[in-house]
């Protein structure tokens, strides 16, 4: 375990994911409602259940663990959740779980998220502008890469959180071209994509761990 506060440790990743799980659990109805308005209403429950399932595994991760250990727990739980978001988030976290086996510097983190979002775009046959989770993932990666030399991971992730939130917000006026929302045409307009919103919450959750850190 490193004490270098600029690098993401396993304990940091654990706290981050637990904070994200808390956020999703708390605001699950918001996600459900968005998916209800432009989808089939199961998204909130899907990912809340997955994250609840990850919780005990995450809690058991020792302080000496590395980031991939934490992300692997999240990946496994999402892969066991089904739906569309299950395998996609499973793959996203799965790619992060293939990141470096040491605390992550800003650039390492940017690199890991870059590889993760590419995998999601490939599996989902999608790219930005189609009203999906990648509309938050891609801007987040750009923000992480924008200042590759940023020493502290927290600062980079805080910027990524703002970019992801803007990205999610931008899905509001889009017509969906992927997933179930693509079937409802204009009815999806005005509704933020819940997958993108969850991604924004994920990046914001890192900030919530700051006080505790």
């Amino acid at each position: 375990m490193t004490t270098d506060d600029t690098r993401l440790t396993g304990a940091d990743a654990r706290a981050w994911l637990l904070a994200y799980a808390d956020r999703v659990r708390r605001d699950v109805d918001e996600l459900t409602d968005l998916d209800r308005r432009a989808g089939d209403g199961d998204f909130g429950w899907n990912i809340a259940t997955a994250l609840d399932r990850a919780r005990p595994t995450l809690t058991d991760i020792p302080d000496t663990a590395l980031p991939p250990d934490a992300f692997r727990a999240a990946s496994d739980a999402h892969l066991g959740a089904g739906g569309t978001s299950g395998p996609l988030f499973g793959l996203w976290f799965g790619r992060l779980a293939q990141g470096p086996g040491e605390p992550w510097s800003g650039p390492a983190l940017a690199h890991a998220f870059q590889s993760a979002v590419q995998a999601v775009c490939r599996l989902g046959n999608t790219d930005v502008g189609q009203k999906t989770m990648v509309d938050a993932m891609v801007p987040a990666v750009k923000a992480l890469e924008a200042e590759p030399l940023a020493p502290a991971w927290r600062g980079a992730v805080a910027r990524a959180a703002r970019a992801a939130a803007d990205g999610a917000e931008a899905t509001r006026d889009m017509l969906a071209r992927r997933g179930r929302a693509s079937y409802v045409g204009e009815h999806a307009r005005g509704v933020v994509d819940p997958g993108a919103l969850a991604v924004a919450w994920f990046f914001q959750a890192a900030a919530d761990t700051r006080a505790a850190a």
């Binding site: 209800r36 432009a38 989808g39 089939d40 209403g41 199961d42 429950w45 899907n46 259940t49 892969l79 066991g80 959740a81 089904g82 739906g83 569309t84 978001s85 299950g86 395998p87 996609l88 599996l123 989902g124 046959n125 071209r177 992927r178 997933g179 179930r180 693509s182 079937y183 409802v184 045409g185 009815h187």
Partner: protein, 331 residues
């Protein structure tokens, strides 16, 4: 507050499958962890047919496991695709060496999870996939879009693939026949009332008392337009006309007509609908060679129905007529 009879959401599907097994102990068997359903007496020496998808559409697919139809069905949570792991385990359990044909309704989640499962199985099993995308309401210009949804034509695909698999046909023949049925089929549905969420009891959308939602799928989402309601004859005509046109049906063609209740539609209503479908087709000089009416591909408690037409050949008629023995379909 839920208006459904259940214990809790997490166990809803699993407990329902326990009940299915209890009602049909001679036909189906439940496998737990991961959850899937197989025939009670496994078939040997034939291609294994595996389907599945989110729950809430019962009796599809779990109620269609049995002789002449599926070998395994893989239920996800309500409206949520099953996991790739579930699908892989189910396919492994029923493949006796002749390979597996997966029948998948075209939804991003189902396609993702079945494809991942197929990849996981690839090295030790022969796997073929038939994607069912019959819902005309979701026809799109966009080539890269997810494409039309899979709805009630999956019944025809499962019945006909099931029948040909039972004759010992190889996997590619079963797959090709499945794809042929898909190509020959189209569906349109409409709702008089949206379905309600199992936990909150809220409706997925609201309609005025004189309105219907045209072009709905089976996940409670809106269709392609809110329209004025009408008589059964008018409603049916609005569905049948585009189907006939899309399939290019002509006077004298033989078709299979499936009238499918979406959940809360009464058997009396489905009877009237089938009558009107036949009258509408008769107007084009077409008499359905075969008709099926019932609530087979439901959308929880949605009020409404879909009409599926499949252009038949003599071969397809024979396969449709072949014996079948499952919880929901037996002849």
């Amino acid at each position: 507050m839920s208006r459904y009879v259940l214990n809790d959401r997490d166990t809803f599907v699993r407990q329902a499958v326990e009940g299915l097994e209890a009602a049909h102990p001679g036909l189906v068997r439940m496998h737990d962890d991961p959850l899937f359903v197989t025939r009670r007496v496994p078939a040997r020496g034939k291609v294994a047919l595996v389907s599945g998808g989110g729950s809430g559409h019962e009796p599809l697919h779990t109620g269609l496991v049995g002789t002449g139809m599926l070998d395994a069905a893989v239920p996800g949570a309500v409206f949520t695709s099953p996991t790739a792991l579930q699908v892989r385990e189910a396919a492994q359990a029923v493949d006796t060496g002749a390979g597996v044909v997966m029948i998948v309704k075209n939804y991003t989640g189902d396609v993702l999870n079945f494809r991942i499962a197929a990849e996981l199985l690839e090295d030790r099993h022969r796997v073929e996939v038939v994607i069912v995308d019959d819902d005309l309401a979701t026809t799109s210009e966009d080539e890269s879009a997810p494409g039309r949804r899979g709805t009630a034509a999956v019944l025809a695909v499962e019945k006909i693939c099931g029948a040909v698999a039972e004759t010992g046909a190889p996997a590619d023949r079963v797959r090709d026949l499945g794809r042929e049925v898909v190509a020959r089929s189209a569906t349109l549905g409409l709702a008089l009332e949206a379905c309600t969420n199992p936990m909150t009891g809220t409706r997925s959308f609201d309609l005025g008392p004189d309105q219907i939602e045209f072009g709905v799928g089976i996940h409670g989402e809106r269709g392609i337009g809110t329209r004025a309601s009408g008589t059964a004859a008018e409603l049916v005509e609005s569905l049948v006309r585009p189907l006939v046109e899309h399939l290019g049906l002509r006077r004298g063609d033989e078709v299979l007509a499936i009238v499918n209740g979406l959940g809360a539609t009464h058997s009396l209503e489905l009877g009237v609908v089938l009558r009107e479908v036949r009258r509408s087709l008769a107007g084009s000089g077409i008499a359905p060679a075969r008709s099926l009416s019932g609530s087979f591909v439901t959308s929880l408690d949605m009020r409404g129905f879909s009409v599926t037409l499949t252009a038949l050949t003599e071969d397809l008629i024979e396969l449709w007529d072949a014996p079948v023995r499952t919880p929901a379909l037996t002849w």
